[in-house]
């Protein structure tokens, strides 16, 4: 699959990679036998039992699964917000034990993930301050990110003055301005109207092209997953496990109208749907 990976980050971790593996085939994200149990003793609750999948550099991978299966929990483990109970998640072969510097996360609850006391622009600036960028670069990054999500006009407004879809775009812009190498999004388009949703999906594909990011998107919308992804990881049953990893082979640059009307598209979405619908 797409192997136009960024070499700049690879160099630093080359030494730690297993010698038997070619660096080009080391996945960007490697989830191996990951398990997560919340609490302990009598109140222990196993959400993820044994998850294994990989994401290659420059790929868009979608994770689909029913509500409550543990998708957000998985992302929290990947983002270093929750420790794995056993197994491991790794970036370029390094086990994730805290928030990795090359990663940004767009949270499911956009209205609880933006700072209501900061204007849109200041929300974008807050994560960048400790990077000690020059004033010019800071401005350029924020302007670019706001333009990418179509919110250049809103930079002086407060998040709570914006609609839900706009707030979600602010959260995405904040991630873009951070210039992560790996972008993880948790049901990012769940609460926006259909038109905005299509725009944001295309934005996601454009980001991948323009910034060469590796993107992992959780969604419960199967059409969306097939439209966006190079591969779809289908999660099922509780505790969560991987039902199947579906390779999506759709020709050419994707387009909301032509891609979605391909027979190929229908076949892929039926495959994913039947996996989810199947009684566990």
């Amino acid at each position: 699959m797409s192997n136009s990976l960024s070499t700049r980050n690879r160099k630093s971790t080359m030494a730690q990679q297993p010698k038997t593996r070619l660096s080009a085939s080391t996945p960007r994200l490697d989830v191996a036998h990951l398990a997560k149990t919340y609490g302990s003793g009598g109140k222990a609750r196993t959400v993820i039992e044994d998850l294994t999948f990989t994401v290659d550099a420059g790929e868009v991978v979608c994770i689909v699964g029913p509500s409550g299966v543990g998708k957000t929990t998985l992302l929290k483990c990947l983002a270093g917000l929750q420790p794995a109970t056993s197994g491991r998640a790794a970036i370029d072969g390094r086990t994730i034990s805290g928030p990795p510097p090359e990663m940004a996360l767009v949270f499911q609850d956009y209205n609880r993930s933006l700072m209501p006391w900061l204007t849109v622009r200041k929300n974008l600036v807050l994560p960048l301050r400790h990077l000690k960028l020059s004033a010019a670069e800071l401005r350029e990054r924020c302007d670019g990110a706001l333009a990418a999500v179509g919110l250049s006009h809103a930079d002086n407004q407060y998040p709570w003055q914006l609609s839900g879809g706009m707030q979600q775009r602010v959260a995405i812009a904040r991630a873009l301005a951070y210039r992560p190498e790996i972008l993880i999004m948790d049901e990012p388009f769940a609460s926006v109207d259909a038109q905005t949703r299509f725009d944001l999906e295309d934005l996601c594909l454009k980001i991948r092209r323009d910034f060469n990011m590796t993107i992992l998107v959780v969604t419960h919308d199967i059409d969306e997953a097939v439209y966006l992804a190079d591969r779809v990881v289908v999660l099922g049953s509780r505790p969560a496990r991987v039902l199947k990893v579906v390779d999506v082979d759709l020709p050419g640059p994707r387009d909301q109208i032509t891609t979605r009307s391909l027979p190929e598209f229908a076949r892929q979405r039926t495959e994913v749907l039947s996996l989810i619908k199947r009684p566990a």
Partner: protein, 254 residues
């Protein structure tokens, strides 16, 4: 806007009513308002302005400022530093059930002579409401917001000053409002006990020497000060919390 009009009109109406109802009063305990206002001008605006009015206000503001800063700092330490939390938690549990004003007698008994002791007792009494509100404010900051701070790798200083502090500000201000009331009460009480200076002392002295007009003038001044101080505080809150007030108004409207 309408709130403002009522806020100003109500006390003015009250004064007008007082003026006319008391105009021909011969009751020594309720002198005409006119007499009171004459004494008010003579006493507070000239003779005792510096020696008593400024002194009282100075004590009030100094005591409140110390309480505010120390209360917020202690609140942060309690919420964020485990050993401090172990020390403060029992005290907080004890204080939470008691109305702040009920603690005033404790601090009055601590009052000694001299300005320093008075400022200390004002500061001590006013510290707790702000401290408890700060602890509650920090503890109720959503874990989602803290997750954002972690994912974007904010430094510890940024997490405290740029996330926790602003997120807790609405609750901190509720605490400050109570602290201000307590500070005002303790200020007056501290002057009525063991002091010969200040508005409280003057008012009590007037009462004890049967100069009722002077006593009423003192009470009137305390009322005016309380009123103005509250307006100042609301203006400050409005400025600092404009984001919060705006977002709440919008949430209610929708």
């Amino acid at each position: 806007m309408r709130n403002w009009v009522i806020g100003i009109a109500a006390p003015v109406l009250l004064l007008v009513a007082w003026w006319f109802l008391s105009a021909n009063s011969t009751d020594p305990f309720f002198p005409p308002l006119e007499t009171i206002i004459v004494r008010f001008r003579e006493l507070w605006l000239f003779e005792h302005f510096q020696s008593d009015v400024l002194l009282s206000l100075g004590n009030l503001f100094l005591g409140f400022a110390i309480a505010a800063i120390a209360g917020i700092a202690l609140g942060f330490a309690t919420a964020l530093v485990a050993p401090v939390r172990w020390m403060m938690d029992p005290l907080i549990h004890f204080l939470r059930g008691i109305p702040p004003v009920a603690l005033v007698p404790i601090f009055i008994s601590l009052i000694g002579f001299g300005t320093q002791m008075r400022v200390t007792s004002i500061a001590l009494a006013a510290l707790f409401p702000t401290m408890i509100a700060t602890v509650d404010g920090i503890r109720s900051v959503s874990s989602d917001l803290m997750d954002v701070a972690k994912v974007y790798r904010l430094t510890r200083k940024e997490r405290v000053l740029d996330v926790l502090l602003p997120a807790a500000t609405p609750q901190i201000f509720s605490g400050l409002q109570v602290s201000l009331q307590v500070a005002f009460i303790v200020m007056i009480a501290s002057e009525m006990l063991g002091s010969s200076q200040g508005i409280g002392a003057m008012t009590l002295l007037a009462q004890q020497s049967f100069m009722t007009a002077d006593m009423w003038a003192g009470i009137l001044l305390l009322g005016v000060i309380g009123f103005l101080v509250n307006i100042l505080f609301s203006l400050l809150r409005r400025k600092v919390l404009s984001w919060y007030i705006g977002s709440r108004r919008l949430a209610r409207a929708s």
